[in-house]
Symmetry: C2
Subunit: 195 residues, 2 copies
DNA sequence: CCTTGAAGATACAGGATTGTATCTTGAAAA
DNA sequence: TTTTCAAGATACAATCCTGTATCTTCAAGG
């Protein structure tokens, strides 16, 4: 029996936990099932996390590491936003599904909400849509007045709704339609230059 | 000890089951908890349904009865939309949340998907946002050009996202903010009269 | 090579849930 | 009033999960 130690083992544990959550859901997300999937025993889990709730937070933080999100900087708000939406569409949908569909039980048991989990996992994460907009403002592409955080998050709200309707990745055509017919008009209303 | 019989008892059982699901989530949706909330015993439940999964389907069917949704007609797109959002916020969001957030465990256990259940719950109903917009167009309040179905559904996408993040009813102030800073500007861009 | 500490395996009590069985009680119909 | 059958109240074994404790085994640092 070959042993895994330290960080290497921890990676395997978190990977196994994530697979278990995605494939079997929160109801089957037991310490026993996670340990079995990682081919180890519950004791190893309890040495690292106090229980299921702490493990959930660790798993979400593990798979949602912001390091692997590259923030596009194309010089135009349209291309920035489309790029960011495509990245979210490709890579984050599994995470969003887990946070919403699979973790209902977690929220009930802990009395928390997805916002709370997000705060716990990303204490100081920058608001990326806000960043993209601020860069557009700095370029003089958009006027700062009345471009609220709510407007900044509109494309992602629509992307998410689209995803929940189809449960499949959203097409690039739909992404561009959202940006061109919804988001940019909302920003263009306060454009510095333009019609 | 006063007894309830037949249909009257069944209503009480399904009401209790729905309350239990909404308030405590699927993880706490046990036959015992439902029976206790209905002030009866598990045997009564097992006489009617074979188990938890059958009870879930019965509850969803029970709550999703074709209750006539009052479609507001106030003479203004703003008031129509705000009224409709408040109605959705009060009545339908609870159901949507149950179908998506709370029932993740059900989908895993039964191997079904949210769309399967949604089809049963919402058979074919009119696209209410589209109706509100068409009436505004008929009044000459909004120009027909470029007011797409996607724009019509934007307020509800934002409402839904807001709800999913907090798992609580959305405030009226937020509803009005969505309408005034997002939806109406999108429509006003093609207004017949006005700035 | 030897020591150390964690990995890995196993056992255990406690608690919760399931599904069934059994019994008494009471509401409704004959 | 009497009969009937479901409601209601237990009780039960079986199963699962939790959290802890104990023991052996192995990888890494000294």
């Amino acid at each position: 029996m070959t042993k895994r130690l330290g960080a290497k083992l921890e990676q395997a544990l978190l990977d196994a936990a994530w697979e278990q959550l995605v494939e079997q859901g929160y109801a089957a997300f037991t310490m026993d099932a996670v340990a079995a999937r990682a081919r180890t025993s519950r004791a190893v889990l309890y040495r690292r996390w106090t229980g299921k709730h702490a493990l959930v937070r660790a798993v979400v933080a593990h798979v949602a590491r912001p390091d692997d999100v590259e923030i596009p900087d194309t010089g135009s708000l349209r291309r920035d936003t489309i790029s960011m939406m495509k990245i979210a569409n490709r890579g984050r949908l599994e995470l969003i599904t887990a946070l919403t569909v699979h973790l209902g039980g977690y929220y009930q048991e802990t009395g928390t909400s997805p916002v709370d989990l997000r705060k716990t996992v990303f204490p100081t994460r920058p608001h990326i849509p806000r960043m993209l907009l601020d860069r557009a403002i700095a370029r003089g592409e958009v006027a700062p007045a009345r471009v609220s955080d709510r407007i900044a998050s509109v494309p992602y709200a629509l992307l998410q709704q689209e995803f929940f309707m189809t449960l499949k990745p959203v097409s690039n055509a739909t992404i561009e339609e959202i940006v061109d017919t919804i988001f940019l008009p909302l920003c263009a209303r306060t454009r510095v230059r333009g019609p």
